[in-house]
Symmetry: D2
Subunit: 283 residues, 4 copies
Amino acid sequence: MKNYDVRDLTLAKEGKLRIDWAGKEMPVVNLIKERFAGKSPWRECVFLPASISPRKRPIWRLALKEGGAEVVLCASNPLSTQDDVAAALVDYGIPVNAIRGEDNETYYQHIITALEHKPQITMDDGADLVSTLHKDYTDLAANVIGGTEETTTGVIRLRNMARAGKLIYPIIAVNDAQTKHFFDNRYGTGQSTIDGITRATNILWAGRKVVVCGYGWCGKGIARRAQGLGALVIVTEVQPIPALEAAMDGYQVMPLIKACEIGEVFITTTGDTTSLIRHTSCR
Amino acid sequence: MKNYDVRDLTLAKEGKLRIDWAGKEMPVVNLIKERFAGKSPWRECVFLPASISPRKRPIWRLALKEGGAEVVLCASNPLSTQDDVAAALVDYGIPVNAIRGEDNETYYQHIITALEHKPQITMDDGADLVSTLHKDYTDLAANVIGGTEETTTGVIRLRNMARAGKLIYPIIAVNDAQTKHFFDNRYGTGQSTIDGITRATNILWAGRKVVVCGYGWCGKGIARRAQGLGALVIVTEVQPIPALEAAMDGYQVMPLIKACEIGEVFITTTGDTTSLIRHTSCR
Amino acid sequence: MKNYDVRDLTLAKEGKLRIDWAGKEMPVVNLIKERFAGKSPWRECVFLPASISPRKRPIWRLALKEGGAEVVLCASNPLSTQDDVAAALVDYGIPVNAIRGEDNETYYQHIITALEHKPQITMDDGADLVSTLHKDYTDLAANVIGGTEETTTGVIRLRNMARAGKLIYPIIAVNDAQTKHFFDNRYGTGQSTIDGITRATNILWAGRKVVVCGYGWCGKGIARRAQGLGALVIVTEVQPIPALEAAMDGYQVMPLIKACEIGEVFITTTGDTTSLIRHTSCR
Amino acid sequence: MKNYDVRDLTLAKEGKLRIDWAGKEMPVVNLIKERFAGKSPWRECVFLPASISPRKRPIWRLALKEGGAEVVLCASNPLSTQDDVAAALVDYGIPVNAIRGEDNETYYQHIITALEHKPQITMDDGADLVSTLHKDYTDLAANVIGGTEETTTGVIRLRNMARAGKLIYPIIAVNDAQTKHFFDNRYGTGQSTIDGITRATNILWAGRKVVVCGYGWCGKGIARRAQGLGALVIVTEVQPIPALEAAMDGYQVMPLIKACEIGEVFITTTGDTTSLIRHTSCR
């Protein structure tokens, strides 16, 4: 009997190309795969990772399989599944239950189908899976020995559950890892923020007056890349220590209200500043 | 009688949005438009610019119209016309004869239709228009007082014509302008090269070993931006003076054959190096 | 009766120029002085700061005086007193007991003379003053309500005293302040290390292969400045997280033994690496 | 008979250390020396270089000697001779006639003594030697086949002589070399300007508002290094093209009068701006 539900299996070839491409950028996972080879440290262990979407995650799933685990997949979000990657994973022998754009009912049905595999480790991305498990399938939750949660939003939900004494098994917050904090925010978000604005607007960064609101890890990464592309960077920051850091790093530092008069591009790293910029008579 | 030929006039609204967006980035043209206002320095002068495509050019056409000129448009390339921008220009009162993907016959027919307006100034982009004018319409060419040519390819064709004593009127090579040379290459090509690679490959630049082949204006611009995004930049250069400049600017400088062993991303600013990289056992 | 002992009072004029120059760079202390003006928050409080030397410290002493305090000075080191600054401070009404190059006996005699003022707050720089107070003048120590210690060396001595239950009054370790840590190391040491090498060797930094051993706060500051002057920076680092940071910041990262083959200038931020460099057949 | 006149031969040891140190930084001259070895391309040719001072020049003199030349030295300026280097050169077999601080009469007497060697090639630095030769020793000048001149001042004097038809032999202006122009100004002056200000003022560059007046080769080099040390760089420039370059390189660009209100450190690369800054009510 068919133990998966994906859009179209013929997309597998395209999906494999994407997975291979992403794999080239992941030397550490490749090293781990090699270490697993022929040893099966995870045999008889059932993993249930939610989310198929970003091209890099499938590599992890395949590494676990290489390590002897039984891996089952559902989505963490009805909109983010990449159908070709899902088809490729089925082809690699992983039961995937996820279709891009599925309705809410199908989405939760897919989670339940995945749960029937009786997972021992969950890898969640937003806490929908863990919530479902804790609400309606507490018997299955008792079977789980631990899990991970990717997002800040998910961690907030889980912390509330823990505080209320309702979290049945321990979960690691991926965000707390030093390598996430130091690297993802500064280098990853630093680049992708700049990149997103380029794609949306086609602007030339050289000579552009760029206001970066907030000089935390993200702000530092963005400011440095914007300057590296030739922009004139202005930093706004309400905390005195990072404000001083920004000044000592050679940026103009000023109150947001004044930056609004000068700036051409505004990048906020905290939600609070967005509305202020919107209400200012800036370009 | 209809004096234009475009895909679909209802696309005008979308086209106007594109033109307006581009216009915000063109303060100098806007200043010129203001200077023209109510003075009509170009009245009774017929301009024939070839090319509708890049979003910024229509702004120039409209500025000329503001200055009193009669402006007529054809394409410089059957593939680059943006149909919505073409529709918008018709709406602004400029006769446009160009449809994206038109066949070769229609493309040249559109040029001829435009020529019937008896242009006094041509603005070409590849020299198709000027060639047509010199081959079959020498009587109309006699009416032209001058023109401009945008591309290097076009300039080569025109220089050959001039050398053979066959160029009927003077044409300015836009590429020779200092503002083109200094700025377009270093800042424009510098950014768009990096951007193109990001869009095609989704790589993170931080920590990436990037080999820039050639340290002329383009190479300088690319190297600086790559370093500005956190890459480790290696320069290869066969001329001793710019090779020394690259070293003094803090980059690693080495022969291409050695750079091939280390590099992860290769950017050549001259065609010669591409084949060498391809034939090397690099990743 | 003369309550001071300095080299030569006629040096006061020169000393005042130095103090004024340093004062221009100290806007925060100047703000504090203004806040003190006419309020005397420190009246009837006796401060005993050790050390006259760096040009910036006298500004602090004068600010305290402005705040109503009685301020008495001795040296923290027989070699670092600036005689002209000492003379200037006497002229400003502060009893100074310190002469550059004084012998050990005079140095300690000067500390004792200062202690006779019965200080309530000590500001030490190496812990000689505090040690003297705890060894031979415990009755005076009982009078002290608190103090500060500038150096790491001094803090180590004090922590040992505290551990042994022998520290009579609380002392703040200046080094623990975030503004010390974040700023002094990265920007201050970052610049002065580069500067010291320039003065000693007269090298041109552009194109120079500079090995920075250690990528902590000091190393980060040094690496950035060396690159900012056009050097090619190589980082060596034994901790994996900062080593990864260095790579993502665009520097070459390699084992020290390999860096020794390539590097031209070596800057260690930890003592351990010095001997290794010395024993390598590097230039 | 003694064919030299220096301060004190016992300084030779110290002078040799200085020469050796400078020699380590001169790989190209060292390569040339090696190429000369055993070939004597300059045998029977008499060189008369004026100037002993900068530590690097003696290396050149020794390379010529290695090449078989007879080399004789005088000063180009009574104040710039380094007596220890002069002593070392005598020890290496080069007749030197120069003493730091010698009076005008001795200075010219030393030039005349050197001329008695009947030089065939002169290497001047300010044109005092060449002027003497043309004024009073035209018979010896006829013997000279060519020369070099280091300074702009010297070149101006020589151009005037050439224009008046009075220059007897051809002289190369060192300043016209691309390697001088591109490298000395950007990297050399770029660093030494920053360095000079640090030594004179002891300022921290991080966060400092630095105004660079003029964005030519020197200005570009200074601006980049100041930014590389963490300064906030403001550029003033009266030429539109380099002003635009400065903006596209990410610096603030504004009229000098406005920069005077903001700036903390002012660096002019043209004499004209100095008086303007002086007359502005800036700090």
